[in-house]
Amino acid sequence: MLTTFIANSPILASLVITLITIATYQLASACQQKWQYIWLNPMLFSICILVPFLLLTEINYQEYNQTTQVLNLLLEPAIVALGLPLYQQFKQIRFYWREMTAILVFGITVVITVSFILAMWLIKAPEIAIALSLKSVTTPIGITLTEQLFGDSSITAFAILIAGLFGALLGPQWLSFIGVNSAKAQGLAVGSASHVIGTAVLVRKSAEHGAYSSVALILSAVLTALISPWLIPLLQILFN
């Protein structure tokens, strides 16, 4: 029934389904605002509600994706908007940018290589391996990069969420355990591994933690964008 509705009046269907998506997301955000649990991530929460909804109403993913085109179209300008934090962080990293870039480039290269090789070894599907190797950056950039390299962007989106939650919930304790205690080092590590979700947790520790975490978040996204289009095809050659 709903499928014919989507076929007959695409604009109305678009409006209804986009509204449902936005409303669910709003509800999730409100819950997180209220209870402040990290795992109550609005995107994860929305997906957990919308997946059963689609299954019940028998709308398939293609139809859902088509009707929510508006949201997809906003993704590109949303990424451009991340230029503002990048500009704001310029001042922060002025004195250290060489060291920070070197450390992050090394870390990113290691993590892409390790994830790609592990995924090829355990799952043996290149589009999944690409998706998993780009899971340490902020979601919009991860999705865009995965699509550009012909990986599976829905896996990236999900892996980014899970990586974010792991790093946010266990990262600071793990870092203290291995003897990394300074705000700067903890901020950089959690920001680069767990992006926005990690940053949201670290801000509660201290402003300095939060500042370095956001530096790492934005800088590692830019560096991953620069490294991955060269590194991933190289790794793919290795497995052919």
Binding site: L84, P85, L86, Q88, S136, F158, A225
Partner: protein, 126 residues
Amino acid sequence: MNNVLYTIFVISISLLLGKVANYLLAALPASLYGMILYALFLQLNWFSANRVTKTNQWFIKHMGVCLVPAGMGIINHFELIQQHGIALVIIIFSSTFILLTVIGYLSERFLITPDNYKSETTKGLR
């Protein structure tokens, strides 16, 4: 309202130039060229950072909703999760901890000079 339109204008111009850059140079996606150009324009003061800040922050705060459709693609992957769920979690978990360790250790080792470290630890103790 003026600043809202101003922000949309600046972001659109950056995205447009990003598309041109993507066409000419390839390598990066257009939106990432756009992001870098936007930061550059603000840095060079070609556009006012003060005027874009408020709208831009609102935009970033609510950006997550645009990502829901992409994440919903997971609906096509139930089989993969059933077959390789544990492998997926192992890969994500181990690589996240490798990254945390590498960046944390290297930053602690190379970014913190001795007196800098002292001031930070005393700050922590206070």
